[in-house]
């Protein structure tokens, strides 16, 4: 067993994990942060995306021990300080960018780093960036729209088709 210590959503946490324990298992089972989901076992779906030291990481493909000493942010740490939805979350609600909600935490985590690195992405930029995130419900249309809107760009179809 390894003793680990990390900052999760701004809070110091400690734990004792086996070497094979995945970060996503530690988050879900030990910390009971169940907003991070598991949709596959081949690192293909992105339902488990979190930020580690500010970068997107598939929490199913990192051992908990590897996150020792680092800063982790999960979907539970994304809302505004007063609990209201942040800009990206609000855009997902406004544009119906989610249905069952299972892929949603991963989508929001991905959208956050995308917009940090590329504040005015094109439709193609968004679609390429989301290559590692599968959504079975929305057909991606409204996810693309939501991310466009969160970036402050026009979201009507004409604008999207014009590029």
């Amino acid at each position: 067993m390894n003793d680990i210590k990390m900052k999760v959503n701004g809070r110091e946490v400690t734990g004792s994990v086996e070497g094979r324990t995945l970060l996503v298992e530690f988050l879900r089972n030990d910390l009971r942060l169940t907003g991070t989901h598991v949709g596959c076992d081949t690192s293909q779906c992105g339902a488990c995306l979190v930020h580690v030291d500010g970068e997107v990481v598939k929490a199913c493909s990192m051992f908990a021990a590897e996150a020792d000493g680092r800063e982790v942010t999960t979907i539970e740490g994304m809302a505004n300080a007063d609990g209201s939805l942040n800009t990206i979350q609000q855009a997902f609600q406004d544009h119906h960018g989610l249905q069952c909600g299972f892929c949603t935490p991963g989508m929001v985590m991905a959208a956050t780093t995308l917009l940090r690195d590329n504040p005015k992405p094109s439709e193609t930029d968004i679609r390429e960036y989301l290559d590692g995130n599968i959504c079975r419900c929305t057909g991606y249309h409204n996810i693309v729209k939501a991310i466009m809107a969160a970036s402050g760009q026009e979201v009507d179809r004409a604008a999207l088709a014009a590029e």
Binding site: R32, G35, V38, Q44, C45, Q93, G101, F102, E123, H141
Partner: protein
């Protein structure tokens, strides 16, 4: 203008708040105190005889409570099938036993053989490796045609063959159809495959069993679209637990698409084991496990013939299908290729004579059952492909050939037993052509050509049948269930409302849309209305959500219950205002005496109902809570026209979907934003089927597409922005909201539109390709181009 939060308003979804903040409560998020973990050990061969299972080594491993095998289930029932089909010769279908754990034989890759239950997940997994299972491999029956031949390996030794049933519909039309085809001026024939798919909701299945010895009560948490159906099937047919001792909870469910309708062995297992071990038992499927244990979809092999007279009128249609059932009959499997498929073969057309023959076949593959659309995509695909092929053979426009044969007068009784109440197929065609800029297509095609690409446009017109009903009819057709829906409208003393619905939301947004309906009916703010679903302890017996039935059947039940509530509230209001009941009107949450300004508020009436001091107790009971069960008089019939524009690279066979347009008729719409979203998702799944998804077995029955490495799921870059429109509405005539249902349309109408577009592109490029089977991956398209080129030489 719809009122805020009322019918027709694109109200933002209230459930989104919890999903967007990680506060959803999906089954795997639930942990029960003292829970243990189940690990299923599954067959890695398609067909084999179990010689022995030695559990001793595994049971001695750390943390292991017990290893279960079929021996532990002697006396329990098998997993039941909910639909009986009768063959053409009048005999009932062959119905093999579907044991919870394999008895004697394994019949598909993924068939569960044993289950290890341990203190931790890792311990259960480790102990599974220590199990000693000796299996004698047998030849497998995989290909449907081969499985029906004499001497084929038998999936079930106790059945007379691998034929489940041989269904003819309408049998009385058979000869007349044969004659009409013989006499036709032109017959277009097409042989095609509707590829096997895996539904792949993003949330894998989960089941948690809990038992309370003090009260003898069982609780099952499960990822289900219909908790009451699971309670009935599992309680009555598998484990013999009376319903009042069994609670089934389906909390937030991460997508279903059909595959979470069915009762699965894992649900029965955890319920059984929790009592046997006196400990809660949890099972969470991995994705790889899901590929070999979730029921698959589609998998039809079909020959269709369309007969036309000299004026291009459709005169007859004959279709022959082999439908794969897999190794066992999943809950509704037999109904999919029959009643959900044959009855839709008229499509949008007034073909007078139709005959459908379906042979259902057992194979050594995962069971096949309903997947988004269930039977209707299979019907639509073959029909819309053959119509397109006929247009090409006859040298007429596919638009005009369709228009010429459209049904225009409603109600319309088809020759395949159903009666369409409303529709306007020319309107959806007009809308489709307008929104897709059909008239500008040639210019775009020229542009593609200048870049060395082939552009094509494909059309498909679909008909759907939603809200399958009425119960007494479907009972005659072999359903072993009722198909009503229920709702309880509970008004609280201060006027807020809880609606308990038998429908279930796993992404559709019931909590928002159902509240919109109540808000509109009563005139109170939607925030005063809560929708409760997914728990048999809290909701009346209902049939759940599938077949695009929620608003048409569940919504109707809720309207009926709300009408009863309003009727009673009006009587109370009449008493309070000393007026006669007939003069009371309810508007915007106020009861008024017609023609006066005398009124009493909703909250005053509800308070009077629960604090009945000034109240006619001898005439009216206190309280304000009503339940309704709604059994529809007919199906509803959404329809629409879909258009797809593609570009094919003739050098590589690569296809790009450039644009997709959907013009739907869903009748009245409660929340346009949500309805559009349903179409987007359905279309993406249809494009997935047409372009990339394929569940593949090799000749030995090995599942070779068993993870996201090998099964291609549509990703953001694989689909375009969609243009969707639901303005061509002809309201349903027989339900109170005039609604039709929208959940499956996208997946039904899109595959033929995509394939028609690719064939159109190839034909325009001078390649005489008649058909390519889905998925249209580059190698298949490239091969078709090579074959067409060789044929020309």
């Amino acid at each position: 203008m719809p009122k805020d939060g009322g019918i027709g308003d694109s109200t933002r979804r209230r459930e989104d708040i919890r999903f967007l903040t990680g506060a959803g409560r999906y089954s795997d998020d639930i942990n029960v105190h003292g829970q243990t973990y189940a690990h299923f050990v599954r067959s890695d061969v398609a067909h084999g005889r179990i010689r022995s299972i030695d559990v001793a080594g595994a049971e001695a491993m750390p943390g292991v409570l017990k290893v279960f095998t079929s021996k532990d289930f002697e006396g329990a029932g098998g997993v039941p099938c909910g639909w009986l089909i009768t063959s053409r010769d009048g005999t009932p279908m062959q119905e093999p036993k579907h044991p919870i754990l394999a008895e004697g034989k394994v019949r598909h890759v993924g068939d569960p053989i044993a289950v290890v239950v341990a203190e931790t997940k890792a311990q259960a997994r480790d102990a599974a490796d220590a199990l000693e299972i000796d299996i004698e491999m047998l030849d497998a029956a995989c290909d449907m045609k081969a499985a029906l031949e004499d001497g084929a390996p038998r999936v079930h030794d106790d059945l007379s063959s691998n034929l489940c049933y041989d269904w003819g519909f309408v049998e009385d039309n058979r000869e007349a159809v044969d004659e009409a085809i013989k006499a036709a001026a032109h017959v277009t024939t097409l042989e095609l495959v509707n590829n096997r798919l895996v539904a792949n909701p993003m949330e894998p299945r989960v089941a948690i069993g809990e038992y309370n010895p003090a009260t003898d009560e069982h609780t099952l948490y499960t990822t289900s679209q219909n908790p009451h159906v699971i309670r009935l099937l599992m309680g009555a047919f598998v484990l013999n637990i009376p319903e009042h001792k069994l609670r089934v909870v389906a909390p937030d469910v991460g997508g279903g698409f059909g595959t979470k309708i069915f009762h699965y062995a894992e649900e029965a297992f955890v319920t059984f084991a929790a009592k046997a071990l006196r400990r809660p038992v949890k099972w969470t499927s991995s994705r790889s496990e899901a590929f070999m244990s979730d029921a698959h979809g589609r998998d039809h092999v079909t020959k269709i013939e369309l007969a036309l007279d000299a004026d291009n009128n459709f005169t007859a249609l004959r279709t022959t299908t082999l439908a794969n059932m897999g190794a066992y009959l999943s809950t509704f499997a037999p109904s999919v290729p029959t009643w959900l498929h044959g009855t839709l073969m008229a499509g949008n057309y007034k073909t007078p004579l139709i005959y459908v023959n379906v042979k259902a076949v057992f194979t050594n593959t995962v069971p096949v059952d309903a997947y988004r659309g269930a039977g209707r995509p299979e019907a639509t695909f073959q029909l819309e492909r053959v119509v397109d092929k006929a247009a090409r053979e006859l040298g007429v426009s596919p638009v005009e050939l369709r228009r010429q044969n459209f049904i225009t007068a409603f109600p319309y009784a088809t020759p395949v037993a159903v009666e369409y109440d409303t529709g306007n197929y020319h309107a959806t065609m007009d809308k489709l052509l307008e929104l897709s800029d059909y008239s500008g297509f040639e210019t775009r095609a020229t542009d593609s050509k200048s870049r060395g690409k082939l552009r094509g446009f494909g059309i498909a017109h679909y008909i759907e049948a939603c809200g399958i009903a009425p119960s007494n009819l479907v009972g005659q057709l072999g359903a072993r269930a009722g198909l009503y829906e229920s709702a309880t409208v509970r008004v609280n003393a201060t006027g807020s409302i809880s609606v308990m619905t038998g429908s279930h939301s796993h992404g559709q947004g019931h909590e928002t849309t159902f509240a919109q309906v109540i808000s509109e009916m009563i005139g109170i703010d939607a925030s005063q209305v809560d929708i409760v679903h997914g728990d048999t302890a809290r909701t009346p017996m209902g049939m759940g959500t599938y077949g695009s039935r929620s608003i048409a059947v569940g919504g109707s039940a809720m309207v009926r219950a709300a009408e009863k509530v309003i009727a009673k509230a009006k009587r109370i209001a009449a008493h309070l205002m000393e007026a006669s009941e007939g003069d009371i009107e309810l508007k915007d949450g106020q009861f008024t005496i017609a023609g006066t300004d005398k009124s009493v508020a909703w909250g005053d009436v509800t308070l009077a109902a629960y604090v009945p001091h000034n109240y006619p107790l001898e005439e009216i009971e206190p309280g304000l809570e009503e339940t309704a069960f709604y059994d529809p008089a007919n199906f509803t019939y959404p329809s629409g026209g879909y258009g797809c524009e593609v570009e094919v690279d003739p050098e590589t066979g690569h296809v790009k979907v450039l644009a997709f347009t959907a013009a739907d008729d869903f009748g009245n719409v409660i929340n346009p934003m949500i309805v559009d979203g349903q179409v987007h998702g359905g279309v993406a799944q249809g494009i997935g089927q047409a372009m990339m998804e394929n569940c593949a077995y090799d000749a030995e029955g090995q599942l070779i597409s068993a993870s996201y490495m090998d099964y291609a799921m549509p990703r953001a870059g694989d689909v375009p922005m969609f243009t969707v429109d639901a303005s061509c509405a002809t309201p349903c005539t027989h339900n109170p909201l005039g609604v039709k249902g929208c959940g499956e349309a996208g997946a039904i109408g899109s595959p033929p539109a995509v394939v028609n577009a690719v064939i159109d592109a190839l034909q325009r490029g001078g390649y005489d390709v008649g058909h390519i089977d889905m998925p249209l991956i580059p190698s298949r398209v490239w091969q078709a181009i090579q074959d067409a080129t060789a044929a020309k030489r």
